[in-house]
Symmetry: C2
Subunit: 247 residues, 2 copies
DNA sequence: GCAAAAGTGTTGTCCTTACACCCATGC
DNA sequence: GCATGGGTGTAAGGACAACACTTTTGC
C-alpha cells in the first residue's frame, strides 16, 4: 500500500467517524446518575450507608449515596468514585444491579439512575465526610426514603440475598478472621432466616474453603470460638459450574 | 386548614419543585439507548434477531436492535417499543440485563446503552420490517458484531442460561403445545450441553408442571411424542423459595 | 422389517434435614 | 457452679447421575 492509499484510507475512516459523531449529536440526552447501596455488617445487623436527602422537598428522609456521572466516566468508575469519596475505600466488591427510569422518580424532572451494590467491612475504614448525617443505618428498620430509593434499596437487598447463596460475597462484610458464629449471624441477617447451627457448620466444613488460623476469639464472656479465614484462591479455582433445573 | 394555609402550602411545594428542577437542569446529560437481544428458537437452534449495522464504519457487521430512549419514556417501555416495532408482538417476556458504558463503545462519541433480553416464539409473529436484513441469526455462529454488541449478546446469553435453570422461561420460546423432546432440545441449545433424556423427563415429571393435552406429534417420520402444555398457574403458586448455600 | 425416536426403572451416591448432648470459658 | 454459647454425629429421606431395553410409528 503506498502513502496515498494509506492517507486516503485514513481520510475515509475520519469521515466515517465524523458521520457517526454527527449522528450521536442528534441523539436526545438525559441526566444520568449512579446510586449506591453500600452494605455493611455490625452488631449482627445488616446496615446500609445513608445520608439525609439534600433536597428540601424530601426533608428528613434518608437517601442512598449517589452522584451524576461525569464526562467519559464509566458507570463502574462512577460507583467506585462515590464509594471512595464517602468511605475512603477502593478495591471493594461492587456490582451493578439495574437501572431505574420512572419519569417521575425525581421531583426535578427526568433523571435516570443506575443502582450499584457494594459490600464493605465497616471496621476497615473511616467515614470521610460527616456532612448530611452520613451513617450506617439498619436495613430492616427502613420504610420510607427519598426519591425511589426505598425501592432501589429493596431491589439491592434481594439481589444480595440471592448472590450470597451463590457466591461467598458475605466475606467482604466480615473481618479477615472470623468465627463460624459470626459467619452464620451474617447469613441470618442478610437472608432474614434462622439456620441450623450444625448443618451450617457442616456445610462450610464440607466446602473446605475455610482455613483454621489457630486463633480463638477474645473478650467474649463464654467459650471462645475458633477463628477462620477464607480460602479465596481455592474458591476461585473451584467455582461450581452448575447445570440443573430448579423451579 | 383554611384556604390561605392551603395555597401557601401549595406555593411552598411549587417552590421546592422549582428548586429541584433548577438542580436537575444543571446535571450533565448523556445520550442513552436501549439495545435488545431478542432470542428465538427454531430448528433446534437458539437464534437472535439482528440487523445489519446502519453505521457505515461497521459495514457488513451485525447489530442488535436498539434505539434512543424518548422523552419521559421508561426503559422498559422503550425496550417493548423496539420489540413491537420489529416483531409486532407485545406481552412477551422481557427483562433488563444491565448497562454498558465504555466511553469508546460508540464511534460517534459517548453513548450509554441499557441491554434488554427477550424471549420470543418465532412462529407466533411476522417480522415487520425487512429493512437492514432483519433476520434470525444462529447465536453460536456469531463472533464479531458492531459496537460492543457481541459483548452485550454474550452477557445476555449467559444471563439467559442462568435464568432458564431457575425459571421456566424457555416456555416462551416454544409453541403452546410441545413435546418433551422439543423442551429438551431447547435446554440443550441454550445451555450448550447434552442432557440425559430419562433424567430430564423424570425431572419435569416430578415437578408436575406439564399438562398432558392428549395429543401427539404430527408429521414426524418416527413414533410421535405426546404433547404437553405448561401449567403456569401452578408454577406461579408454587415458586420455590430457596434457602441454601451453594458455591 | 428396518430406521428412528419415544417411553420407561433401578441402583448407588451424595446432599439435606432434623435433632440433643457434652465442653470450654468467664464470672 | 452456673450461664453462655462452642463444638460435634447420626439416621432418614430426597435428589441426582449413570445406565439399556422395549415400543411405536413411517416408510
Amino acid at each position: 500500500m503506498n502513502k496515498n492509499d494509506s492517507s486516503k484510507l485514513k481520510n475515509e475512516q475520519e469521515l466515517l467517524i465524523a458521520d457517526a459523531t454527527a449522528l450521536v449529536g442528534e441523539y436526545p440526552k438525559v441526566p444520568l446518575t449512579v446510586d449506591c447501596a453500600l452494605f455493611g455488617f455490625e452488631e449482627n445487623e445488616l446496615k446500609v450507608l445513608l445520608i439525609r436527602s439534600d433536597l428540601e422537598i424530601y426533608e428528613g428522609l434518608w437517601s442512598l449515596l449517589g452522584d451524576n456521572i461525569k464526562d467519559n466516566e464509566e458507570l463502574d468508575d462512577a460507583a467506585n468514585r462515590i464509594l471512595k469519596e464517602r468511605t475512603g475505600m477502593d478495591d471493594v466488591y461492587l456490582d451493578q444491579v439495574r437501572s431505574f427510569s420512572r419519569p417521575d422518580r425525581h421531583p426535578g424532572g427526568r433523571v435516570i439512575t443506575v443502582a450499584y451494590c457494594s459490600l464493605i467491612n465497616i471496621q476497615h475504614h473511616q467515614l470521610k465526610i460527616h456532612d448530611h448525617e452520613l451513617h450506617w443505618h439498619n436495613v430492616q428498620s427502613l420504610t420510607e426514603m427519598a426519591f425511589d430509593h426505598f425501592e432501589i434499596l429493596t431491589t439491592c437487598h434481594k439481589w444480595l440475598q440471592k448472590r450470597i447463596q451463590e457466591h461467598p460475597l458475605g466475606l467482604n462484610l466480615l473481618p479477615d478472621k472470623f468465627s463460624l458464629r459470626e459467619l452464620q449471624n451474617l447469613y441470618e441477617a442478610i437472608l432474614n432466616v434462622r439456620l441450623d447451627r450444625r448443618n451450617f457448620r457442616k456445610k462450610f466444613a464440607s466446602m473446605d474453603l475455610l482455613i483454621d488460623v489457630n486463633e480463638i476469639e477474645d473478650d467474649v464472656p463464654h467459650r471462645p470460638g475458633k477463628l477462620y479465614k477464607f480460602n479465596f484462591e481455592k474458591y476461585e479455582k473451584s467455582k461450581r459450574k452448575w447445570v440443573g433445573i430448579d423451579f
